[in-house]
């Protein structure tokens, strides 16, 4: 009897704190439900989310680590096995968490939730929480685990190893296309944020000479002093933001930094081509330091800001746009919400990071849970904060900033009338006043998510420091912080894309594989830049803002890559003879295939021209055949360009669908083969050498 009592006490001791935490989470959710109808305090949402994360980490990730994967602390990790002090270094787990988190957290978790807010804050919140616990964090953890047991190999190599060379090549081509779309959509966000904004443009432009000075400093003056040079750089950035106001207010200077979206598009394309060929120490590395520290700092500041300000959520829990009639992006809740919020819930891109440097730095297998599962929970928390930020804005302002110009017109009066007609009353004075507060000429149709987030961050930060007088400063600080790490991603991504392409081209013409040859480099860079430049230009000239077309393509491709990663996880579990537990990867994989497959087919085949690329092309072709010119086209040649763009987008959709369908078939075959085997058939390294 005492034995059983002791066990009961032990169980209670172990689980009681978690039961209390579950209670707190439930209370917070209850608080939200009780306050429905009036404005809900954002803190409820944050507390509920954090409770979910902690409980999921304590129970589900533990189940994954010990029962499903069988992490074995006694097993040598690549960092120990191949220790070289350079690539393979056993690293303290909290330090490695920082490394991994800084690599996975980017613009994705900030932008997606802002766009998703058009359906209200609740659908996005629920998907962020369920998605990260059962899909996103599982994917990151699984890929990290699989790579860690195979010498830290890359994602493409892992697929080739466990699913065959055909699957490996298909996944690589898919990954390259995804990279192209990501770069285009990121660049589009920058264009939308900086168009006709001399203040923003000046500060972002100032980062180029600033980074070059930093590069020279770390190269020759004080070699390798990263901390020192970053502090100097940050001071320079602050001065650039402050001086940017003077630039914006001096007509002669403002003219030099005022560009239209199309001009900015060409500037970015040129920039991408040059930056990707410069030596890394000169521009890329120093700006990476700045953007990384600024990003981490801004995320922490945002968390503090929300906790202190405790703002109310002014966006309703649901809006009428769950039916798919929303102005920010088209499509109904299923499947489009699940591809609009990609990073933060589940992101296939993380499969590339979790099989990059991180698995080579893990000191003990047991750490993989904290780093793989834990860091993704942290990223989801960033996404929740972005959703909160978008939802504390006046919904009238939110829709003024995010609806297309074709709907709003260009003056505060027309915009106010259009947004009020949507059911979100706002007057022209409020729109003009908000633009003035943040130091911009206009906030109408500043799509892409970044400016919306910047207005929200300016509200939160100015509540903490500086009040209304500092709002314009904080707005441009937020724009700079987003633009900076997007530019770093564009630069690094173009470079990575160039290497990927040189590998692929090298199959046909071996000379092109030589990464030291200038003509080969220039050719690959040019091809890579024109690939994303094409989609960027298409997005910039799209009257619906471009985000409407590009973001779904990005979401579909990114979530499909996640599905591929989870299918790899399923195959590996089958081959480990742990197929009874393979549902942990198979169920989220199936869900993602369902969402992305439906979304892809709708984008391809829907008869609604707002949704389907082919239907849109048909509408324009029929009109062109009769000699009509439909808005936004101004001439028949515009009409033909739009038709061509639609067909390219449709072909891309088809390609993504084909990638996932073929990987699915190959995965099923691999699972069936593994089931017939009596013994495990995985290609992992033995526990001991």
């Amino acid at each position: 009897m005492p034995d059983r009592r002791n066990r009961a006490i032990e169980l209670l001791r172990r689980h009681l704190p978690w039961a209390v935490l579950a209670g707190v989470g439930a209370l917070a959710a209850g608080g939200m439900a009780a306050e429905r109808g009036e404005h809900v305090n954002a803190l409820w949402l944050v507390v509920a989310a954090v409770s979910v994360y902690l409980i999921a980490y304590r129970y589900y990730s533990r189940y994954l680590a010990s029962t499903v994967l069988g992490l074995d602390p006694a097993r040598l990790t690549p960092a120990v096995r191949h220790a070289d002090g350079l690539d393979f270094v056993p690293t303290d787990r909290t330090v490695l968490f920082g490394h991994h988190f800084a690599a996975i957290a980017g613009a994705g978790p900030l932008v997606g939730p802002v766009l998703a807010a058009q359906m209200g804050y609740l659908p996005g919140t629920l998907w962020l929480l369920a998605g990260v616990v059962f899909a996103g964090a599982v994917q990151d953890f699984l890929v990290l685990f699989i790579s860690m047991r195979r010498d830290g190999r890359s994602f493409g190599e892992l697929i080739r190893l466990e699913m065959g060379p055909l699957a490996g090549t298909i996944a690589l081509v898919g990954a390259f296309m995804i990279m192209v779309i990501i770069l285009a959509v990121l660049a589009l966000i920058v264009v939308r944020a900086l168009a006709d904004s001399p203040w923003g443009m000046f500060t972002v432009a100032a980062t180029v000479p600033l980074a070059i000075l930093m590069g020279i400093y770390t190269r020759w003056i004080r070699p390798g002093r990263v901390g020192e040079v970053s502090i100097l750089g940050l001071v320079g950035l602050m001065l650039a933001i402050v001086y940017g106001q003077t630039v914006a207010q001096t007509p002669a200077l403002a003219g030099l930094f005022t560009f239209t979206a199309v001009q900015l598009c060409w500037i970015l394309i040129g920039y991408g081509a040059v930056a990707a060929m410069l030596p890394v120490w000169l521009l890329l590395a120093p700006r990476d330091y700045l953007s990384t520290f600024l990003k981490i700092g801004a995320i922490i500041a945002l968390a503090f800001g929300i906790a202190i300000m405790q703002p109310e959520l002014r966006m309703p829990a649901f809006t009428q746009f769950v039916d798919g009639s929303g102005p920010v992006w088209s499509g109904s809740l299923f499947p489009f919400l699940f591809i609009t919020i990609a990073c933060g819930a589940v992101s296939g891109f993380h499969a590339l990071i979790a099989s990059g440097t991180t698995p080579k730095l893990i000191a003990s297998e047991a750490d993989a849970r904290f780093i793989g599962y834990g860091a993704m929970l942290a990223e989801s928390f960033v996404a929740i904060m972005a959703l909160v930020a978008a939802s504390i804005l006046d919904p009238g302002i939110y829709f003024t900033m995010n609806a297309p110009a074709a709907l709003l017109g260009t003056s505060p009066e027309t915009a106010a009338a259009a947004v009020t007609a949507m059911g979100f009353p706002i007057d022209a004075a409020t729109i003009a006043g908000t633009a003035k507060d943040v130091g911009e000429n206009s906030i109408i149709s500043r799509t892409g998510g970044a400016p919306t987030l910047a207005v929200a961050m300016a509200q939160i930060f100015s509540h903490l420091i500086g009040g209304k007088a500092m709002m314009a400063f904080w707005y441009h600080f937020a724009i700079l912080f987003e633009a900076l790490f997007i530019l770093t991603a564009v630069d690094a991504g173009t470079r990575a894309g160039r290497f990927m392409l040189q590998d692929l081209l090298g199959l046909a013409v071996p000379r092109l594989k030589d990464t030291k040859s200038l003509p080969a480099n220039a050719l690959a860079t040019l091809l890579c830049v024109s690939a994303w430049g094409f989609f960027l230009y298409q997005g910039v000239t799209d009257p619906l803002g471009g985000v409407n077309t590009l973001w779904p393509l990005f979401g579909i491709s990114n979530q499909m890559l996640a599905a591929v990663a989870l299918m790899l996880g399923t195959v590996v579990l089958f081959r480990m003879k742990r197929q009874k537990m393979a549902w942990v990867a198979a169920v989220p994989a199936a869900w993602l295939i369902l969402c992305t497959g439906t979304a892809g087919l709708l984008k391809l085949l829907s008869p609604d021209p707002r949704l389907g690329f082919v239907a849109h092309a048909m509408k324009f072709r029929d009109a062109a055949a009769m000699g009509e010119v439909l808005a936004p086209a101004k001439s028949l040649s515009d009409m033909h360009r739009i038709i061509f763009n639609d067909l390219v987008d449709a072909a891309l959709c088809l390609l993504f669908l084909a990638v996932v369908a073929s990987i699915l078939l190959l995965a099923i075959r691999a699972c069936l083969d593994a089931r017939r085997n009596e013994k495990p058939s995985i290609q992992e390294l033995p526990a001991m050498v």
């Binding site: 350079l86 990263v226 590395a285 160039r498 290497f499």
Partner: protein, 63 residues
């Protein structure tokens, strides 16, 4: 003392976030495993790691 330790920890964390491995750990490794080889000096080590991070392997960063 603990103040100094937190400073070192934060510096280590910041370096890890931009992909710079620990130089003391590298020296330790060289001393233990390759006592006959001269390790790189900090400047060479830093340049080597900077090139390794951005040469394209590992696929850039996330969305």
């Amino acid at each position: 003392m603990s103040w100094m330790r937190s400073f070192r920890y934060i510096r280590r964390l910041c370096h890890a976030m931009v992909g710079l491995p620990s130089y003391p750990a590298y020296l330790e490794h060289m001393a233990a495993k390759h006592p006959d080889c001269a390790p790189m000096d900090y400047q060479t080590f830093f340049r080597d790691r900077q090139n390794a991070r951005y040469q394209g392997k590992g696929g850039g960063r996330c969305c």
